[in-house]
């Protein structure tokens, strides 16, 4: 519990660092935001007025602290393109991203660890070779290309699954409908990460099998299946956990592409749209929000690691 609080506190400097980077990168944008927002109404008086409203007439440092103050209170400003509070838009979109990335993350962790372990345990057999080959092909397929090919095959030719979106436009909206829409994007998003996890798992299982305590288990007459599930996997999960934390970042990054390919209404697609429309506050808020979530997620991984490995003091 003590450690829990300590770890949360240690995230504060990182989060502050993120706010600084996000704020200053965005404020490097050339041109006058007020002019951009007002468009054809940009008379000098209006620009001056809006600049005062937005606090843009103040110094950079001062503006950072005002922005930070608002941020802490949950005020990320207003999106001028959507004409609604940035936070409302993000929260709505983040839900969709979370469903997609979360599913993909669970998929890549479970499947990756599983096939990596099987591959190691059946090293040099035909099973191992098939898995190794599939993994190699999988990690070489860019997710956005894979997504497009899946749409062609499963949605257009076989018509098993819907082409895109999160819910059917007519009559959809229930859980089954969501699953139906989720299958393709989640698999496309998970594939590369699954391959990476499987590879690392395979190597780490092979290394663990050489350890003295595995010999002890065998000397006790433990069946090979139990050696694998009770002895090897226990250790493997602890060594792979930090890798899974990293994969979460890759999945989150990949979701931007997958959301575009499958028209998934998530944060990634929102960000790309916002960049093309130069909706700066939305970009700023979106990047800040997702980065903060990722930091918190990694703390959770850390804590889980500590829980699973009692040797860490």
């Amino acid at each position: 519990m003590n450690y829990f609080i300590q770890r949360l506190l240690s995230a504060i400097p990182v989060l502050l660092g993120i706010t600084i980077i996000v704020f200053f990168i965005i404020s490097l944008i050339p041109g006058d935001p007020a002019t951009a927002i007002l468009g054809s109404y940009a008379t000098p008086e209006n620009v001056k007025l809006l600049n005062e409203q937005l606090g843009l007439d103040k110094g950079l440092i001062q503006r950072y602290f005002i922005w930070l103050g608002n941020l802490v209170q949950g005020d990320l400003g207003r999106s001028f393109a959507l004409n609604r509070p940035v936070l409302d838009e993000i929260l709505e979109r983040f839900n969709a991203t979370l469903i997609l990335s979360g599913t993909a993350f669970i998929l890549c962790s479970v499947v990756g660890v599983l096939i990596g372990t099987i591959s190691a345990f059946k090293q040099y057999t035909i099973t191992d070779k098939i898995i190794t080959f599939t993994v190699l092909t999988g990690i070489s397929l860019p997710s956005f290309f894979l997504g497009m090919m899946m749409i062609l095959l499963f949605a257009v030719n076989l018509q098993w699954l819907p082409v895109s979106g999160m819910y059917a436009i007519y009559g959809g909206g229930d859980f089954l409908d969501l699953i139906h829409h989720l299958i393709m994007p989640a698999i496309a998003l998970a594939l590369v990460a699954t391959g990476v996890v499987a590879r690392i798992t395979r190597n780490s299982v092979l290394e663990i099998l050489r350890q003295d305590y595995i010999r002890t288990a065998r000397a006790k007459g433990v069946r090979e299946g139990n050696v694998l599930f009770k002895h090897v996997l226990r250790i493997a999960i602890v060594t792979i956990l930090p890798i899974l934390g990293l994969q979460a970042g890759f999945v989150l990054s990949g979701s931007v592409f997958i959301e575009i390919v499958f028209q998934w209404p998530g944060v990634g697609r929102m960000l790309v749209d916002a960049i093309l429309k130069r909706d700066i506050l939305l970009v700023q808020g979106g990047v800040m929000f997702v980065a903060a979530c990722y930091v918190l997620f990694n703390i959770a991984v850390d804590l889980l690691q500590r829980y699973l490995d009692p040797r860490i003091k």
Binding site: I25, I151, A219, K220, G221, G254, L271, V290
Partner: protein
């Protein structure tokens, strides 16, 4: 460098990846010289022609532009942009990493904290933010990708620099009055360059993919200029009706990435020391058994080992670790097996139930008869039934031989559950009884502890309890007291000795310490260079060692209360395990009474007084 290339070329897949990459590079970079159509010429009458149409090998896109030409030009652009991004981030990242690693302290702290923060972003977010600032465009996308990858380089290079900066030749350069700048350029840089090159080669594929990704999103190259990503992005709008406009660029991206991956794997494997040492090969549950000849074993002893020869196989050569080892153990007897490390005693002990890790272990000869049945002729299931049941082991260092993440209780119950098919309740009862037997205080606490929470002595008691779980008839104890301090050692020995006498256990006790062996063993075998050199009753060997090795080894044992004396050692070192067949006495090079004929032929073990000894000139 040549070795390195050899290593890579030995790996066929890596070679294939390398060749694939070279072809793609050469063809795409020659595209300005090739007789291709202009990639940007629009001909709407030829829209969406399929591949292999007349005049268009790969067909045309939505504006009737030649896809082959666009593909090659696009590949060239993607490669150029990806490689430039890699070079930029490698340069800046390496400079930052070197500065942080070389100067250390505050400089290091500041740089690394910033790097940490940058690494806290999922990479695409940072790239998107940078593109948002700079505006869409291929050059800007490249800058974004380059910047996003700087932290990765900086971190890697810093790590390497720190190790190099602490080496002696850097101190020497400092003392000779070289400036810091010169040291970095002339001393550090040449040493980190290989690391930089390897890091670039393993990340360049990734950066090509990232820039293609940004272009795919419409944030990279802008029309009419096209790289692979934007071609794929354009193809997407006609995906359903004219999928070939997507296949073509998509397949090229796939080929580039798989080429980089195959080649990168080859580099990684070539550099991975674990692979060359065979540490990434799964050890089989039973040692590989390839018996050359049928060893006759008519002994009716409780355990009878005949001509046991175990080898390690490296590069198809057999390196013998134990040669023709033969001994018997009677019911209730304790046999000591003594020798230096590398003498083959542990390999012999593990071979009894085929526990030598395989590969590389192979049992090439011998017979191990246990209660009348030859273990080397059993199948896995039969051997498994013996292990931890009738024959159990106690290993040397319980910190590494107990599972670090399983509670003591669970580990104790396991052997019982595996062999008796009974529920946890009985196993728990039995386990706690055993803890009482090995005099563990505070049983409930220990039961729920992890190995690292206990003392060395406690852990070894638990190993003993674990070995006793299924009332074994033979215990093989491989240096069970070596990792312990002297007082604990005495307690453990006493415990083992009492248990053995109470339960009529047979024990094979492996040690390098005559003092320990003399306390509990009835008989002793001395091993040297994989062979038994002397065998006899403990008191006979202790009072009258016949083999020069035995006597020299015993002189090395310090005695308390005998005043100051120089502690003798055996000069030289034991023979290393080799695949070469060596004739004659293996101890001759260190022997004080060696004669010329010691190396003429292999020496047989013969009766001498009360002991058996493998020496032409044994002590009288």
């Amino acid at each position: 460098m040549i070795n390195f290339l050899k290593l890579i070329s030995r790996n066929k897949l890596a070679l294939f990846g390398g060749i694939l990459l070279v072809i793609i590079f050469v063809v795409s970079f020659l595209s300005p010289l090739l007789p291709l159509k202009d990639p940007d010429v629009i001909k709407t009458s030829d829209r969406f022609l399929l591949p292999f149409s007349e005049g268009y090998l790969l067909g045309t896109d939505h504006l009737g532009r030649d896809l082959l030409s666009r593909l090659l030009w696009g590949t060239r652009l993607s490669l150029l942009v990806g490689i430039s991004a890699a070079l930029i981030s490698a340069t800046i990242g390496s400079i930052l990493g070197t500065i942080a690693g070389f100067y250390g302290n505050k400089t290091d702290n500041v740089i690394m904290r910033i790097i940490d923060v940058l690494m806290a972003f999922p990479y695409i977010l940072l790239a998107l933010a940078i593109v948002a600032v700079l505006g869409p465009g291929l050059f800007n996308a490249m800058i974004a990708v380059a910047l996003v990858n700087i932290p990765f380089f900086a971190r890697n290079i810093r790590g390497v620099t720190v190790t190099i900066a602490n080496k002696e030749f850097i101190d020497a350069a400092r003392l000779s009055g070289m400036s810091n700048f010169k040291i970095i350029i002339y001393e550090i840089f040449p040493n980190i360059l290989p690391v930089i090159v390897v890091t670039i080669s393993t990340t360049v594929g990734w950066m090509i993919l990232e820039t293609a990704g940004l272009s795919f999103l419409g944030l990279g190259s802008q029309p009419p200029q096209a790289d692979l990503g934007s071609m794929l992005g354009e193809g997407r709008s006609s995906l359903i009706v004219n999928p070939h406009t997507s296949y073509v660029p998509g397949a090229m991206i796939f080929l580039i990435v798989i080429g980089v991956n195959l080649f990168g794997d080859g580099i990684r494997d070539a550099l991975d020391p674990r692979l060359s040492k065979g540490e990434l090969v799964k050890p089989q549950p039973v040692t590989q058994i390839k018996l050359n000849k049928n060893v006759k074993n008519n002994s009716n002893s409780f355990l009878s080992v005949q001509n046991l020869t175990t080898a390690f196989e490296f590069d198809n050569k057999l390196h013998l670790a134990s040669k023709d080892v033969s001994f018997d153990i009677k019911k209730g007897e304790c046999l000591g097996l003594i020798g230096e490390s590398g003498s083959g005693k542990s390999v012999t002990a593990l071979s009894v139930t085929c526990l030598v890790a395989s590969p590389p272990g192979v049992i090439v000869d011998g017979s191990v008869k246990f209660q009348g049945d030859d273990i080397l002729k059993m199948n896995y299931e039969q051997i498994r039934e013996l292990r931890g049941n009738k024959i159990s082991y106690i290993f040397q260092d319980p910190l590494s031989t107990l599972h670090p993440l399983i509670k003591i209780g669970k580990q104790l119950e396991e052997a019982f559950i595996e062999h008796n098919h009974q529920k946890n309740k009985e196993a728990t009862f039995k386990g706690k009884e055993l803890l009482k037997l090995v005099q563990i205080p505070n049983i409930e606490n220990v039961w729920n502890s992890y190995p690292h929470e206990l003392s060395g002595g406690m852990r070894q008691r638990i190993s003993i309890a674990m070995a006793l779980t299924n009332d074994p008839e033979l215990i093989i104890a491989d240096e069970p007291t070596t990792a312990l301090d002297v007082t604990v050692q005495a307690q453990i020995l006493l415990l083992l000795d009492t248990l053995r006498k109470e339960r009529g256990l047979s024990v094979l006790f492996i040690s390098h310490d005559f003092g320990v062996v003399s306390q509990i063993c009835d008989r002793v075998i001395v091993m040297y260079g994989g062979q038994i050199v002397e065998e006899g009753k403990t008191e006979n060997i202790m009072s009258k060692p016949r083999h020069p090795y035995t006597s020299q080894l015993m002189k090395c044992v310090p005695h308390i209360g005998f005043g100051k004396r120089e502690l003798p050692t055996i000069s030289g070192s034991p023979p290393s395990i080799t695949y070469k067949k060596e004739i004659g006495c293996s101890f001759s090079s260190r022997c004080l009474i060696k004669k010329d004929n010691c190396l003429n032929e292999d020496i047989k073990i013969v009766q001498k007084g009360d002991s058996e000894v493998r020496c032409l000139y044994p002590h009288e």
